[in-house]
Symmetry: D2
Subunit: 349 residues, 4 copies
């Protein structure tokens, strides 16, 4: 098929390349001429103008957007006037599924079909393929199946799920029509919510292992640390890179995120190259909001999100209020006392 | 009654004073001569030597310990050889109730009764009285009732609990025999566990209020903040001292901790005088351990404890591992990219 | 002043009574004639028709709505056509502050001022007064001050906050203009979010105390309980009503919610009259959503909300998936094995 | 090598079989004659008496224990008198690492070396191999390397970690000497703690997906559910088995636990065969206790554990206290009111 790709960042450019490798023709567009040029070198047809870009596509047209969530409305605003009834636009980025509902309704008025497609895989996707979670009109999804199949990993060497009937559906090939408009990004949203939880579980576990030597510390106990009751229980210097590697082999907790942890730890066992100010994208937040609307308890996913907030200093004011309350236990006259000098455990109630 | 008090820190010295104000006689002992002298000035009999201290008490003796949890064994080691069968020792500090079980068994071999007494009230206790949670032998508790009654707040002006029968017990006076050895410190432990939860609930709530103006920030969105979808919903500059004051009046969340928050906020609305490195004492930790032994879910109390850990930088390694995993999504070749430069939401999965 | 009150449920009727006791005149309206009649008996002027109700009020009119959040739009729809420029409507219910923004903008087009007023106090408010958190136009708030002052508790016998300047503001009287439109309900929202956290902290703590006797259980350990390592540490039969009473006296965790707990426990120590299916209203949920928008970590407030969700069986599917995963560890051939028969700890990884 | 295996349950018997398949000789012992007979049939030498069992092993002997954690002391008590200086005992079960410290010290007095070995893999281990986390004396670990290598998965087809030097250690083969006595079970403990977190992240995520159709429910809103503000956002009937399958392909959250989830869901999409009363073994609890000793915040791992507690009804009393407090808001006179009949959101503060 011939498909148009708008947005040639890391994700979009690699997806165009994977499509061309599979024999599809790509017409590409981006704000950056250099980005276009790079794809043209790899065999794409490039256009710096939206009108030319659209004109280069056969009807009914298929345009795949791979732009930041915040740029989708602007991009659609420039694109839609050039499209015609029967055309299909796929938003493959990280949009909020609630925006999909609005956008698909708006485009439908012009006869344009809007599909939402959550895409997982990162830069690994060029080689491994992208996991695609698709929402929107079933006929349009069906028509684009060659595109989805080319982008997705395919069955590869992954062991089949026991008990799964042959021909049950496309999920085994790495793409799935999840439901009507918004369903694709909804599934991707929850995917990222889960991802935060998984990452946090590993992070907390490795942190416990790293601190397994706290019993060796001979520092005089200070005001901010309750002395260890049994320091002899915490005298292990754990080799985190080796433990991460070990767990990749036959353990219940093996996963791709563990593979990445093993890679990170072998390169830099102390992770000194990182500040630990952990960003979060919209999906993690939207996942919690959806859970709250559903009345669904999600303490693990929420805790994972909050750890990221805290990592960026966001709990600062709350922490200071806790210190202030503790200070008040000591009475008005002692304001000058440095909180850090208080004897642990003597003024906690 | 005549009672001995060992440990003349803030708590012990005030308790001795409150006892003397109620007409009891106090014999006091401390490692610090100055501390003893100060109490002697207020009417106590002081002894720098343990033997003299004990000798000054009438049999059966009553000795109240008000020393740090870590000093109890040493103090008992020095004291016990001078005591005799029938004597009573009260540990009024913040000991782990599991230590009470051992200590009471050891002293029982010599005929000495060991009581554990959790004490709440801080420096406010001198005026307000101390809330006393007592464990150990019922007869000994009974014999010491005048002491407990003098230290406790008494009924005061607090409204009686509706439906509570007259003469139901001593709890209304502010002291209670909670059960056998360890029961007093067990109740105090849980008291402090609850206290952490209450403090954290207020701290989180005020933090939400403080940030209610994030929609006013005109900064270009950076990589670590997902842009607000509706900045117009967050344009409130809340007056925290006034809100704390307001909630003290007729609201469901009025409490003594809220009173303290109001005091802290009126003095220093931005809490600039605090670093927000929040200490924790043993009780908060032991509460969670007890809950785990009981198989009791305590997410609120645990979260409150963990916020204190995090406030002291303890989540640093876990945070860096999260950053490292996120970095790996981007592939091996991009190690030099500063994490903070990543576009939010484009490489989360 | 003469004020109109719409909505004569428990809250609205008591508020009208409190206003009349303070010398204000009330014109009342409700869908229920009986509710109107009851207030008329207490001295109010009642009208079953909205037009008559409005006509009975002097200009500029003041109408207080005390209807369920879900009925506010409908009530305003019926009311607004009868109002005129200069009139003021106060929404004293539990509306979402985001709706306040829309409603105040819509009414402003007609020259009508819309105030939002979060109200805390429950049925206790008739006697104790209501804590009022007010948002909207400052002049209108100022004009209605006699109404707010009459509804609020006033200074009463509550000890003044140390360090608070005389005449700092109205918060000491129990009402506060918190900011522009929505600010009142925003503060009330966070108030309830905090309330959930406080309630959960007490609930978890008392649950730990109640289970302090798990070491006495002589049952053969079953598959769902890890055997206690030290049963001798958990042999306390705690008297919860007495402990709740005790903590009301001089302890750091005294509060009005603790007072209520003491009342509930003295009446029914085992709380057998309750199912423990805990409802939640919108505020608790909106608080978490606001925190997420602000990027503010609120693990305690979230955990409290999720406990309520779980209490209503909402974690059922997640729990079954956990069981299913554990089952898969055991291999395909053992589907018939009852999960409850599994030996604890042998197939956890 | 010739090795003795005590404990022929699912794990022990399969491990003996895997050892024999690799060419090692196994002498086996169990309380059950049938279990012994089954292994003898597969080529092992079996003995019902401990003395005979030990006598059949060449010196220095190697005995592997694969018995429940609660039976280790008893087993060692029966075994140790028959052992001699130089012999090695491996505890391959799920013991608490703190017990390893005691046991290794006790056996060391007799010259016997005690190794602890955390074992992951379940019944899958017979084919896939077992992931082994070993603690104790380095020389003994070295001598037993052929045993560990036979039990472990080996390098297999798992992709090497990028950047990992050749010959870095044995972790790539699936076994690792983690440190001195207790280190093996410490690492296994944290492994299971992480496992709980991972499982909970998937469980919460799938639960959100399953409830994505709550907007379709046309029930009149009841007292326990806040009405959905935007039901049109929740009208997706998600196909969970397909989504689980999809995520196995190229997504960031692929893992072995996801593979198991896909298997469970394809067999029984509604998971109707499970009650959702989720057991927990010691490791999950010990992980949290270790984290608390270290002062390490672990909200995700704790939340995962608490969800299991709650799934077994353990939050019942806390929930009822919450209901009781809410009830008290309504005043003394309304005790007869059924909590479930309360209007949502009208008495929450």
């Amino acid at each position: 098929m011939k498909i148009g790709m708008i947005g040639l960042g890391r994700m979009g450019s690699n997806m165009a390349r994977r499509l061309m490798e599979a024999g599809h023709d790509c017409v590409v567009h981006d704000r950056s001429d250099a980005a276009i040029a790079s794809l043209v070198e790899d065999g794409a047809e490039g256009h710096g103008g939206v009108a030319d870009f659209v004109a280069a596509l056969p009807q009914p047209r298929t345009v795949w957007l791979m732009v930041p969530a915040g740029a989708v409305d602007e991009t659609l605003g420039a694109l839609a006037p050039h499209l015609e009834s029967g055309d299909v636009v796929v938003d493959g980025g990280n949009s909020y599924y609630i925006d999909d509902l609005r956008r698909s309704a708006e485009l439908k008025e012009k006869g344009i079909t809007f599909l939402d497609c959550g895409t997982s895989g990162g830069v690994w996707g060029l080689d491994r393929g992208y996991c695609l979670m698709i929402g929107g009109d079933a006929d349009a999804v069906s028509r684009l199946e060659p595109i989805f199949a080319a982008l997705a990993p395919g069955e590869g060497e992954i062991v089949r799920t026991p008990g799964r009937p042959e021909g049950r559906g496309t999920a085994e090939k790495g793409y799935l029509h999840c439901g009507p408009s918004g369903a694709g990004h909804f599934v991707k949203m929850v995917h990222n919510g889960i991802e935060y939880g998984l990452m946090a579980a590993y992070a907390e576990g490795f942190a416990i292992l790293k601190a397994a030597n706290v019993g060796n510390k001979t520092d005089a106990p200070d005001a901010e640390t309750t002395p260890l009751r049994n320091p002899e229980h915490y005298r292990y210097d754990m080799d985190l890179p080796e433990i991460a590697e070990l767990w990749r082999r036959g353990s219940v907790i093996s996963s791709w995120l563990l593979d990445l942890s093993a890679t990170a730890l072998i390169e830099d066992p102390g992770l000194a190259g990182f500040r630990g100010h952990v960003s979060d994208s919209g999906e993690g937040r939207w996942t919690i909001k959806a859970a709250i609307d559903e009345g669904m308890p999600v303490p693990v996913l929420s805790s994972a999100l909050y750890e990221r907030f805290s990592s960026r200093g966001q709990s600062d004011f709350a922490d200071r209020l806790l210190s202030a309350m503790r200070h008040e236990f000591g009475g008005h006259l002692e304001k000058a006392v440095d909180e850090s000098k208080q004897t642990v455990g003597r003024n906690d109630g």
